[in-house]
Assembly symmetry: C2
Homo-oligomer: 162 residues x 2
Amino acid sequence: MNDKKFYMEKTFMNRAIELAREGMDNGDGGPFGCVIVKEGIIVAEGNNCVTKENDPTAHAEIVAIRRACDVLGSFQLTGCDIYTSCEPCPMCLGAIYWARPERVFFAANRNDAAKAGFDDDFIYKELKLPLEDRTIPHIRVQNDEGADIFRTWVSKENKIKY
Amino acid sequence: MNDKKFYMEKTFMNRAIELAREGMDNGDGGPFGCVIVKEGIIVAEGNNCVTKENDPTAHAEIVAIRRACDVLGSFQLTGCDIYTSCEPCPMCLGAIYWARPERVFFAANRNDAAKAGFDDDFIYKELKLPLEDRTIPHIRVQNDEGADIFRTWVSKENKIKY
């Protein structure tokens, strides 16, 4: 049983890596691929399409998450596993937390990505900095008006929480 | 001149907050809005559409970034400012770093969002944890095959870096 489980995990990761290679060869974007699996079946696949689509958010995981949610008709990936060829960058990790799958499997990590010229590790470091020390300045304005809308949300009836 | 600058910043933030309110009232998703400005002109707007579109990545900033990049025909937001009704969550902050705008203005912050039931602050805390301590398990497999593809990327000719 463990052998079978290992074999399936390897099959899914191999597919994620294959998607990464195909996307790179096609000139879609960087060498990143992702598959999302539910009950032993791939429900969606994705590869990095940043440069092809002029979309900086079109990382493999984001592409696959959007497709999987579309297929499943849900904004949650309950019961799903994510197989990604590289440790998710902060953007994709955030997306994963919002989508709430069961587990994330990855092959290469943020250091491997950094060595190949990708900013993953840099962004992880920036996230930990106080707002005033970040490379991209973050400036707070109109605190009260911004917070006020949350009070309306809290008291709103018939809202769908996510 | 400073008065004019302040007035413009306030106008853009008011619009972001208005988008947040409209989106909430329309039932698109949570109360979040965003505008992206280049040379004093709004090039794209967005509001949270998570529940309407069954897309956990459809946060206001992601929606606006994708639209702005489409309008500008670029995967970079060089020279742009982002006005968002709430401090970006880790996913959106990651997207902002990949899009590389000049500055980010925000009104409410992660604590305001958390008080209204949004996971922003929780995800910020998870990001800082070692992989093995995270609520969503992150499991590394096939390190070598994952890293190998980056070596191919580094030696690839005619690639578009992003």
